[in-house]
């Protein structure tokens, strides 16, 4: 679907109406739900630290075979709903226990919108990626979001064990809106490399991002 002002308004409206993501916390297995460690309205934190080594806030204790297990938050946010009636009862696996209302940040909204509006080129293999020299030169000269690539143009060079394979552009001529990797970075398979869009859509995408930045605090 082509991007236009109406579409932009629709997208923004959807985020304005609901700038949250609801994470439903379910029981990982059967057991007795012994105790809730949080109440509605509590702020909880997901795993943190450079390696996510610090566990999230404890939510409730689920006991099976005399093995009490503390279930922790996987995302940050506010506890919006707690199924109090489950406390002290036997619960089945995957039973919804509580909900965490996570307020989307500006960065998350932009990422979400880009995912919806751009054509994403993903890494075909886990390898080291280099921007093709011509493209790098053009981007340096004209700036990101200005360079048009035609079908068959070389986007990047995938380098692995001294084997170099070009990543070519397929489809209609498009603008390179975002480059998601730095020169020589090791990128896992399936991770995004480029975000492309049609030339006529570019102003709209820029406008969309500007409006998100305007409306949502960083």
């Amino acid at each position: 679907m082509a991007l236009d002002n109406r579409k932009i308004n629709q997208l923004l409206q959807s985020f304005r109406a609901n700038p949250y993501r609801i994470f439903v916390v379910v029981t990982p297995h059967t057991g007795y739900l012994r105790e809730f460690l949080v109440k509605e309205g509590d702020e909880v934190k997901g795993p943190s630290g450079k390696w996510l080594e610090k566990p999230g806030t404890p939510l409730f204790i689920l006991e099976r075979e005399k093995n009490p297990k503390t279930i922790r938050a996987k995302a940050s946010g506010t506890i919006s709903k707690v199924n109090r009636e489950l406390e002290g009862r036997f619960v089945e696996a995957f039973e919804p226990v509580l909900e965490i209302k996570h307020t989307l940040t500006q960065k998350e909204i932009v990422a979400e919108l880009l995912r919806k509006t751009l054509h994403i080129v993903t890494a075909p293999e886990k390898a080291r990626y280099f921007l093709s020299p011509e493209l790098a030169k053009k981007i340096e000269k004209e700036g990101e979001g200005r360079v048009v690539v035609k079908p068959g143009d070389e986007l990047a060079i995938m380098s692995f064990m001294k084997r170099e394979t070009p990543v070519l552009h397929e489809g209609p001529p498009m603008v390179v809106f975002r480059v998601f990797f730095s020169q020589g970075q090791m990128v896992d398979q399936g991770e995004p490399l480029f975000g492309l869009c049609l030339e006529e859509e570019r102003p709209y995408v820029e406008k969309l991002i500007a409006r998100v930045k305007e409306e949502w605090p960083a």
Binding site: G49, W51, E65, K66, K69
Partner: protein, 746 residues
Amino acid sequence: MRELQRYLHELIDRVVYLQDIKGENWEGSAYLLEDLKRLKENFFQISEKDCHHLLESYEARLKILEDRAAKELTPYEIVKITRNTQRFTLLDILENVYDSYTELGGEGDINVDPAVVCARAMISRRVGDKVYLHQVIVIGHEKGHGEEFRNGGSAKPWGNEKALRYMRVAETEGIPIHFYIFTPGAYPIEDYPGAAQQIARNLYFMSKLRVPTVAFISEGGSGGAEAIGLADIRLMASRGYYSVISPEGAAAIEGKIKEGERPPRELVEFCARQLKITAEDNLRLGTIDRIVPEPPLGARRNDYQFFKRLRYEMIRATDEVVLRTKSLKAFRSYALRRKKEEENPPDEFDIYVRWDLSEVEIEKLLDLRSRKYRQMSRHVLGITKCSFRGYMEKTQDVGLRLYHDFRYGVLKQGQKMIQRVMEDLSGEGVAFLKQLTEPLKTAYDLLGTRPRRPKARVVTMEEALVDLPELYVSPLALEDRTVTCPNAETHGCPDIWVPDLYGEFCGVCPNCGYHFPLEYQWYLSNIFDAKSIKEFNEDIASGNPLGFEGYDKKLALAKKKTGRKSAIITFQARIGGISLIVAMLIADFRQGTVGVAEGEKFIQACDRARITKRPFLAFIHTTGGIRIHEGTLGVIQMPRCTMAVREYIDAGGLYLVVYDNNSYAGPVASFLGCSPYQFAIRSTRIGFAGPRVIRETTGEDVPPDYHSAENALRRGHIQGIWDRRELRKKLYEALLTMGGQNLYYK
């Protein structure tokens, strides 16, 4: 006027120095500093004569303060003196003590590790009208006077590796080494060659370094100090400190202070007092040989009288080391001893001693070094030389040695020699006959008969390992419940029923292979042949040699809880019929920390293995490092035990180290880390310092798996990872395939 200005600046420096040590508001020093600063501001408005008078009166006031401060110095204030940026450093020593020097392996910040300085230096002595020049290698820590790149003298692993490299150079060239220790501790990172492993390698090498060595300690921070501290004579600055841990570190442990919080000053003072870190304390404990006197408030970088003293002491100590190895030395030794207590160092020496040694003298040097370290700290155990029991034990040892030398030495060697000759003869015979029979055999084969190949026969027959008749089951298995594997989230491990986990699964998660901790009794029962364990030296007991307040109670509790007298169990046992000596550090007793008793038991076990030609296994159920309550008496176990290990390995034994659970700090950085065969049971953690210490020292966070066995293997610190269920088999294979030629079964 310029002279007076210099005089004023010097006084300001002295007041600031005093305040650094005693605190900013000590005895009105702040007023004195204020007066001096005021004078500095109005310096050119006062006449020269008045200014001179004023400065003299200020100096008199300062002198009174300094004298009072020197009389009331506490151990923690001595620590502050040692850490002060105005204190002399190694480069000051190289400038003022040695006649000339060339820095090796670096220059300033262009360096492998600027915290370690190695230099080729010349030191001269005057005897009568002659001046003699001696060449030495100087290795030490450089704290710098506030330069950040020096890292406060905290040597990185590659800095210690550089030190080792130049020790080898000194050995090749046969010149003495002067070590200067100015470190708060080693930089606790695991990157190759690894903090702990490199210190262990240094200690291992220094224990048999074939040149005279003298160490001078100004700031001796635990393992970092030991990395270049195993010397024939250890001198210490009178205002230096030598400790198992920094007073702040000890206070954080004792006061259970949370990460990021500062321990209270009183607790730090208390720990500094209890740890017995001063030069006098260390001399009394026997961990150093002599004290080099400094000015009452410590020597600073412009104390030339101190450098003169140090130069004299270093030459005299090197002479002493060399003379001990000589057969003709009586008068020269007397001359040296006579000079011992002199207040002011003389400008001239009475004697000249050449510092190179012959092969016989080197052997004596090594023997004396070994004896020196073996004797250190033993006095606290109450092992007296003249007791009847001592004589009996000695007789027993001699008997044991004679028996094993005869049985596995004379007889076995003779047998081996005959076997070797027979093999050579048979080989020669076969080769000769083959020349004659080959044409006939070829003709025979050509006639159509199929070539005959005899069935291959194994030359060495290996005994198959018999399974243990009955498996010991951990008491942990007696609970009817399930547990969750720590890897459940990442590996999807299902909950495990405890009787299964600690019974059939031997504490190993059947899905991901995570090893749950097990008690040391499990290993005693499931590794060694049934009823083969014979414990020895169980009466050597851990004590409180420093009289650390409150420690007696903790120790008594540990003894009561475990029913043992120390954190190490030494015993003789068998695996698949092969007899071996084992030293096992156990977690239950003070987290397997090593003190004098543990060190002594380890050394005696090592010696027993050497005498009886048995393989020696160090099984580390857990070790938390050196026991801080025993201070430097604990630290000294690092070189002591490494010395014993080196002698055992050199004698042709097999020294195996197996880590389990957690192994950190001193032991890993000495007698464990120096083993050529180190293995870890899966899920163990091995390292030099824990994550908290790393974070506090380096200011950087460490990943959660930083100390894992896998990473230790990746960095080359260990040689393999073993599964607990296969430990008996793996050990048996190791006993058969590894080690030197002096094992009784080889």
